[in-house]
Amino acid sequence: MEELKQELKAKIVEQLNLEDVAVEDIANDDMLFGDGLGLDSIDALELIVMLDRDYGIKLTDPKQGRAIFESVDTMAAYISEHKTK
């Protein structure tokens, strides 16, 4: 699980071009959206594609993303439960 979390952090930084953020800067329970890392709705769409491409998880409604992408903890939990690849 910890390995998956590290992997997710690296992917978030890379995929979302967070040039000024280091993987170590992101805590497992940091809020990714809003006041935390400051991600927005376009980032959410980018993350939805990442779930599909890297873990075989298809979300059809962007609203589903809100709870899943709350933090690295919630993302890791969802992915380990639902991943198909």
């Binding site: 927005d40 376009i42 939805i48």
Partner: protein, 400 residues
Amino acid sequence: MSKGVAITGMGIISAIGNNVEENHQALIHGKKGISRVSKIKTIHKDDIMVGEIDRTNQQFEEQIGLSQDNNYSRTALLGVVAAKEAIKNAGITNINDCKTGLISSTSVGGMDKTEMYYYDYLTNTSTQKYIEGHHAGDSTQKIAEELGIEESLVTTISTACSSAANAIMMGARLIKSGQLDRVIVGGADCLSKFTINGFKTLMILSDTYNTPFDDNRKGLNLGEAAAFLVLESDAVVKANHKKVLAYVKGYGNANDAYHQTASSDHGDGATLAMEKALKVANLKPTDIDYINAHGTATANNDLSEGRAIIRIFGNEAPDFSSTKAYTGHTLAAAGAIEAVYAVLAIQNSVVYPNLNFETPMHEFGLRPQLTLKEKSLNTVMSNSFGFGGNCSTLIFSKGA
């Protein structure tokens, strides 16, 4: 600056008809043009529905009389067909008998060819003729050439889904300021894999018929279309005893300055655009008889636009409907398509139904007009909103 801007001709091609009359018939008979995509090969064909025009590029090339070696994109073909109808409808036999300009608009331009030959260009010289059509002004130059407009003011606006509304706005201002005596205004956009996939990534495409202002709306259907209007000055109208179909009475553009693609929750930009248009038209909200809403059937637009309508009109909004359920969202062309529909509504004294509506939205009590309603219309407001926070409102009127 108190001059009138007369509409003396219109032309249109959309998923519900190849000319003005066919569009009018479809509108009053509630006949929508939404289907599965047939002309573009896409892996999303079973997940989306579109407003596609039946005719093939080859049929258009024959209709226009183009040679085999032409480099027209589908956008240019649609644009020429609609613009020619508008000229004919306005009874223009010599386009250069007064200072005539053209303001067109497009978002995809020649993207259909770009995506088809992207890598092919590198090896196949026969496809390279399309490279020059990459810039968005290319279709406009072709329309100008086909209409015989030379040595004149010709330009193109691209502000996403409000593009054609903005072309009409700029045209009206050029007439009012006396820069031009006549201007052909409108827009054209064809369907492309580019837009299908682009809107797919935004997750705002419906897998079924779009349902504007319905609580259970699932997103938009993309459409392709072109429409053009002929705007003429009072002097030209008088000198040629022209029949005036309607007038461009008001216009306003504002920016939501909220998000790259989404509209603000309370529709700030939309509210500003409607306010500006009312002010230019010197009208009160109660003077508006019908609103042809942007109404794309995305969760975001219809809520934001609905709230903006309430901010301007209160809970007693005039009759309103979105005609996107008929045509799909025709992107840059939408503002011109719906301008033609607004003029047709005024001419025929009808409010078009908002098709596919079942459940009112839970956020407010607004209910679109659901059946064809006959009533005399003096003023019609038309909204068009686009990416980049671009919000435009036009007001058309029966009298000057």
